[in-house]
Symmetry: C2
Subunit: 368 residues, 2 copies
């Protein structure tokens, strides 16, 4: 099965210089892929020429779709959505709607990408709001899937509940784990900890656990993200965004300090030189580039968001993420998980504000 | 001026073995300090003996106040607050109320420490809720003061406004910067970003800035914490707690990976050995122990919270923090800053979100 990936070539801080190079590199090393490069045709063609790809044996696996406009990082949502109807971002997403592509990758403006994706593709049945799910490395040398990372700054319990179910479907499709563990990000492990939204969400997730829909671990704390306590960490987009960016900031800080100290004098430089394989391994294990590519979950189509500042190496990881998602039928998994949520209608107790009382099958978890 | 510090010797994961050792070490190296060790007298005495401090020339600068009970990490708030009236934590805080101590340090249960401090000391005029403010290292090699770190999981704009003013007073008192910059933690820099609470808070802080009360920088993002973009970062206790713990978790993760890679083979071990001064410098610059000691702000007395798992080195940093706070008249600075807030009533434009009713008794806003 050939995976067709549409690339918003004009998005991101570096545009085609990065996106086209990454697409070419990916298509060279991947058999069953067809790339649709969307953007200003002459620029894309000249990038391909620069890369000497126009005579490559894999060249036929790339096609170009022209789009005359570009959504910039500064464009307000209305402009991106209503005025720039021929933007590379919009046209790339249209490829999915028109069934020309299985998945789309963009490094453009997150807000615009979410808004256009939502407008063009619509949300899946039973999804109130799409969310952005990214992968972080953890101490167990496994991935931690975390969402939402910024699409929803205010969440109600049922949104977080939906995020949990979608992320579980994503994780099991991509990682092959039948029932991945789900943790709810909180300020403590105990049930009494946290604000109102989190406490109510925990109750909803306990209900889903009881029904066998998800494998709810319970509350997790900030340190559990990198400890790998659970496969999935659910939080609202405000907390998720701040935490992710704080982690990136701390990572940069550590790197700066390490570099500065190793360059302090001849001896330390020598040590670093001798130990360079170790330092390289550390760098590669913690390199955020290897975790580039957030999935927009809850849409009727697969869209992957790359970091805006991604280089070609990093953007290629986002393409890999897109390829894996399409290959593993992530969309179908999520749609079916959300359908089951419909089939098992939200009990009265859960609908409003939770009052897990008598009729909930798993009454006893409701207490504590 | 001698600073009198009361120490809750029984608090924390390690109790007197850590707290007494840290107090002794501190008193040995600090001239103008008087330590009040609070806890089970026989245990404290035996620790002092173990440390061979009972014949030391600085021994007279330590006194012991017996307390028969201990607040455990598992104690519910009611137990800590209502039942254990002779706990080392309570008695240590009482020392401030009774004007026997200028500042108190405890590594005990955060919730209990906040509740007891609030009950015994009361909040300062015009403070609705106390907050916990900690120091983090940043890339500029300066401290970032961040609050709230867990005392208030739900905040209204006026609470965050108060946190900002208190932190600015703390920062200028301890660091000697007249008008430290204040950043509001958000998911983006633009004014339109964020949830309702953050947007309303930004307006309040802009008003305070216009009045010359604080130096409001604007919104900051997660990465700005470690970049050192502003001196102070304000957020609610949920976001602050999660972010801080995530940073700790990432720090541990990086350390584990570094250690593992350097120990991988003889060559890398040799490199690490040669570069050990660099690694040590990195470790010391990023060592969370050096940043131990969160200030409980907004009380009519100075209370410093140490990490529960602190070792003696780390606990001594919390004592240092306490000493510095008292020495620099932090309490007076904060009280006077909050008094000015009364003197300059909140403008109509923001009154909706606000209602800083001066008559609100400092009672019922539970932190849970």
């Amino acid at each position: 099965m050939t995976i067709r990936i549409s690339i918003d070539c004009m998005g991101g801080d570096h545009g085609p210089a990065v996106t086209v190079a990454a697409a070419v590199s990916f298509v060279k090393r991947t058999e069953d892929v067809q790339m649709i490069l969307v953007g200003q045709e002459n620029i894309i063609r000249s990038e391909l020429k620069k890369l000497k790809f126009d005579h490559h044996s894999r060249f036929p696996f790339i096609s170009i779709v022209h789009a005359s406009e570009v959504v910039t990082m500064e464009d307000p949502l209305e402009v991106a959505l209503r005025r720039k109807k021929d933007s590379s971002m919009r046209v790339a997403i249209n490829q999915i709607k028109d069934e020309q592509a299985d998945v789309c990758v963009s490094a453009g403006n997150t807000g615009a990408l979410m808004a256009i994706s939502r407008y063009v593709l619509k949300t899946l049945p039973n999804v109130d709001r799409p969310a952005i799910c990214s992968i972080l490395p953890n101490q167990k040398n496994k991935p931690t899937y975390m969402l939402d990372l910024g699409a929803n700054v205010d969440c109600e319990p049922r949104h977080l509940q939906q995020f949990a179910i979608m992320a579980a479907a994503l994780f099991s499709a991509v990682e092959g784990t039948a029932m991945p563990t789900v943790g709810l990000l909180n300020v403590g492990e105990e049930d009494i900890k946290g604000n109102d939204v989190v406490k109510k969400t925990a109750q909803l997730l306990r209900d889903e656990h009881a029904k066998g829909v998800i494998n709810f671990y319970g509350n997790v704390e900030g340190n559990d993200i990198f400890a790998g306590t659970t496969d999935i960490v659910v939080c609202d987009g405000f907390v998720g965004n701040v935490t992710l960016k704080a982690a990136e900031g701390l990572g940069r800080f550590v790197k700066t300090v390490l570099n500065a100290e190793f360059k302090r004098n001849f001896i330390t430089m020598l040590g670093a030189l001798i130990a360079r394989s170790a330092l390289k391994a550390v760098g590669s294990r913690l390199n955020p580039s290897n975790y580039n590519g957030g999935s927009l979950l809850g849409l009727r189509g697969l869209v992957i968001k790359s970091h805006g500042g991604a280089d070609a190496y990093s953007f290629e990881w986002a393409i890999q993420r897109a390829y894996d998602a399409a290959k593993n039928g992530v969309l179908e998994h999520i749609a079916s998980a959300m359908n089951e949520l419909v089939a098992q209608p939200v009990s009265e107790s859960v609908a409003g504000a939770i009052d897990v009382s008598s009729e909930t099958p798993l009454g006893e978890t409701g207490t504590s």
